[in-house]
Symmetry: C2
Subunit: 170 residues, 2 copies
Amino acid sequence: MLADMSLRIALLGLLSGAGPASGYDLAKKFEHSLNHVWQAGHTQIYPELVKMAADGLVAVESEGARGRKIYTITPEGTHELRTWLTEHQPSVTVRSEVALQAFLLPLLDRKQAIAVMERIRAGFEARLAVLECQPGHGQALGRYALELGLRQARTSIEWADETLTDLRRA
Amino acid sequence: MLADMSLRIALLGLLSGAGPASGYDLAKKFEHSLNHVWQAGHTQIYPELVKMAADGLVAVESEGARGRKIYTITPEGTHELRTWLTEHQPSVTVRSEVALQAFLLPLLDRKQAIAVMERIRAGFEARLAVLECQPGHGQALGRYALELGLRQARTSIEWADETLTDLRRA
DNA sequence: GACGTCATGTAATCAGTTACATGATTGA
DNA sequence: TCAATCATGTAACTGATTACATGACGTC
């Protein structure tokens, strides 16, 4: 078993939850429903599907028009997915440019710090707007993650507002 | 200018905010104060400092005992840092294993889903405990980011609790 | 002298992004 | 016929992790 399985798991999860799909379809789903959870472009997805097929986790169900290849999850793939979900302790490596800017904010003078915080706030606001427009509130896959994203966005906006108040008062 | 400056910026920020330091010192600071914002080990930091010195952003101030090299930020380094802070629009690429598990949770049956959520909750609780023990509440650098981290951890725990209630009711 | 911490580095590998490349189909 | 979208891929590069390697200094 590989060390970092996240991309495979995300792909297996989509195939399991939303049925057979092509690499192209999966890339679209990454762009839309998965974007606040994990990211991957088609250049990463296509080769990964080939490797996963070689490992027996997925199989090409059929080849449609325009060379479209429909992948299905195999029983081994389903097993791998379940094992990861129930047994893998998720790592908590954070790498956030926003948090980094917040971390370094005290290096700036008051006026500049306020301007940076306002931009950060606007970013969170935009993110919240995107999540609110997202379907999947009632949808099976992704509804819990969406709720978490919404709450974190709202919390972040509150934090930005209070930080701005603090900066303006000082 | 490079595309991804985050590691450089983090190093410049630490040198600017906490004064001259060795690669070893900087690696320690990454482990302690920066860990909830950005991650980097010494194997990434040492070569990066060499490149940054070549680019004139930092300079070796002195060489101490045991081959210890003390780096200082240069005026060009300070300029690069300020420019990034005030002008760079932070990217919002999220890659969270926890959120991925939450996303895929509906694939599991009720009992398993509850067990996974309990583990996720425990993870957030542990994270909160670490952040609460962290100094830097009053400290210059990192206090805003710490406050954001604390709020997000608390929000995540609330989300986990309500999700658990929801799962148990169903 | 042995152990732990301080202190620096390289090499191999893996994950992820950007740029490049090709061709089919659909609709204006 | 032209443009947009569908659909797949490769190659080069950058960022990050893991494993390996070395040696100095302090203290028990």
